[in-house]
Subunit: 193 residues, 4 copies
Amino acid sequence: MSPTRSGPVRSETARLKILETTARQLADVGFERLTIEGIAAEAGVGKQTIYRWWKSKSAIVAECLVEGMLLEEVQSIRTSGNVKADLAEWLDRVFATISNSESEGLLRSLIVASADNSEVAVRVRGTISGEDTLTSRLRAGIGEAPNLTADAPFQEIAEALVGAIILRTLARAPMTPQETRRLLDATLGTRPE
Amino acid sequence: MSPTRSGPVRSETARLKILETTARQLADVGFERLTIEGIAAEAGVGKQTIYRWWKSKSAIVAECLVEGMLLEEVQSIRTSGNVKADLAEWLDRVFATISNSESEGLLRSLIVASADNSEVAVRVRGTISGEDTLTSRLRAGIGEAPNLTADAPFQEIAEALVGAIILRTLARAPMTPQETRRLLDATLGTRPE
Amino acid sequence: MSPTRSGPVRSETARLKILETTARQLADVGFERLTIEGIAAEAGVGKQTIYRWWKSKSAIVAECLVEGMLLEEVQSIRTSGNVKADLAEWLDRVFATISNSESEGLLRSLIVASADNSEVAVRVRGTISGEDTLTSRLRAGIGEAPNLTADAPFQEIAEALVGAIILRTLARAPMTPQETRRLLDATLGTRPE
Amino acid sequence: MSPTRSGPVRSETARLKILETTARQLADVGFERLTIEGIAAEAGVGKQTIYRWWKSKSAIVAECLVEGMLLEEVQSIRTSGNVKADLAEWLDRVFATISNSESEGLLRSLIVASADNSEVAVRVRGTISGEDTLTSRLRAGIGEAPNLTADAPFQEIAEALVGAIILRTLARAPMTPQETRRLLDATLGTRPE
DNA sequence: CTATAAGCGAGACGGTACGTCGCGTCTTTGA
DNA sequence: TCAAAGACGCGACGTACCGTCTCGCTTATAG
């Protein structure tokens, strides 16, 4: 076996077309009704080309997340000096995004994909909380809220927040701004305004 | 249809056999590989009998939850006077149960079913937190933890806890006892021991 | 067992409704797509009422034939003194009737029913040839055609004619008037005009 | 679709296995109880492979006829110089074949298939009369019987004979040798011996 | 003049087969 | 040698009917 084998190399064009198509169809029809055949047809690609490079549809979805093709809108968190206000704005944005009829069910689809593939689970969580900007924001907020001391359980607070988002997504019951404030009070130890 | 129509009546035997079979197979093979045909075959029932009364497999799962055929082990929460200890014991029990290989993936399956059917989502959440015994326990714990004041956001604290369970379930990363303590410190406002 | 048992007697209304519905649907959708459930529904009758009195759908069709609800138009044959002319007129009428789009496929449906139930086969044949008026007409025509001698094989001539009708019905190729004349020449021994 | 498209080609193995299985099962259980699933299972083939190439079970049967897999025994007619004797032998052979319990009902099944598909009707008729060897034999017999003149209606005589076969098949009443003679007398204009 | 038993409309039941969709693998042809 | 196209065996889908079996109601003899 030669170190560099002969023949054409993986087609980047095909790879991107497949990812874009997957992202589009995932938002459109959801994970359960997403099919390899459908992706191949719309992407103008042979099925084998997909099977050659990915081992399941959740793996394609995972790669879409890595490429930042999904949930771009919810990855940033403001740092204004008031951690509760910043997180409230972020949570409101998250719930507004997932309630948007255009990508209705997208996060729910990602949850299903997560159940199939823990790589997706990790990516979804990372993506929702902006590649760990959530934990960073919490750490940056030491002193801005009673619970945010130097030895606070930042990781667990982040989990509680993201977990609540997931819970509400599954229940199709986005949080209202009042509820997000109460959630933040519960996890940051702040008091109602 | 008249209020009392004549003719044969729904078979309770068939209904129970279907629910039992569904519960068993769900724990066995997971939601994605659960099939109506498989249920019908094992339950000794015609497919139409299933389609007549339920409109999807997630609807059957929802009824299993209502009948208490799933997740019975995690529905009770101790009330000892120490809310953090009680919830820690409960969380440890929850993670032990869902890590148990016998029902490996059961909760993950229920999450997938939830994505398909908000009825299931509501039931799963109700069941995990023991038909609202979680919120009740929190209310009963007023004064046992800094965050548990009379006007505390009990609902949101419960959501944060259940959400964290779901998050860890998807990531296939059950919380260790240390982590559950930190999560409780984060949501109850307690301090590490 | 008493000679006359108690209880209500067979409902003539239901019987007739079933036969009428069957005749109508048979002409409409054909024998293969005729269903007991469809008959019961349209006739406003329980399925059991049908199964109680008939053992198959072809048996109902047979009874429709007995009741003269099917193919009434083709049962009479003229007796004018010219057997070839009379049979030509009858054959033309038969082919016109079965080509009529309104009952398109009715005879074909009856052939299928015949294959299932020899009772129907006998009835169809009897009905097409007008309760043996065909053989009668042939017997009455002794001397009107070369083959019609006193010891002629009347039965076999009739069979040849009806068989040809069936053949053309299956092939969806009705005979033209010219062809019917040639068929009659072949079986009656007459010569072309 | 381009004239020569790339990609896999139709499997001849599968095609033949399907036709052979269909021929066997048709003789075994009859057309009404012949099922696509049964054929697929016995042929070791996916259902879709059948649906891809044929649009109904009668279409498969038609192709069996084309391939000469059905009714091979009745396709030849002797030419001895005595047309009545030759046809009598053929008719006796036909009725013997269709009465044979081994293929009991095969011709009846083909009649049902004909009702569904005129292609089958044409093929059955062509096959029974040996790819028009019947008409050929009649033409070859000019002068051997009163009705067989140069301008005789050969086609219609053939139809009368085949039609009678079908009629008797439906009635499950094969002709006796005496009856076949009378039928031939009726159509050929011969006299009883 | 009951009571009892059958007929009736209705339709649930365990089944079989339908025709379709999508899976993951394999085969062919063209670039 | 990869990629498109797509046929293949397979498994499940949701639907249509099958023939059997309750139901609750009505109706006509038999006691």
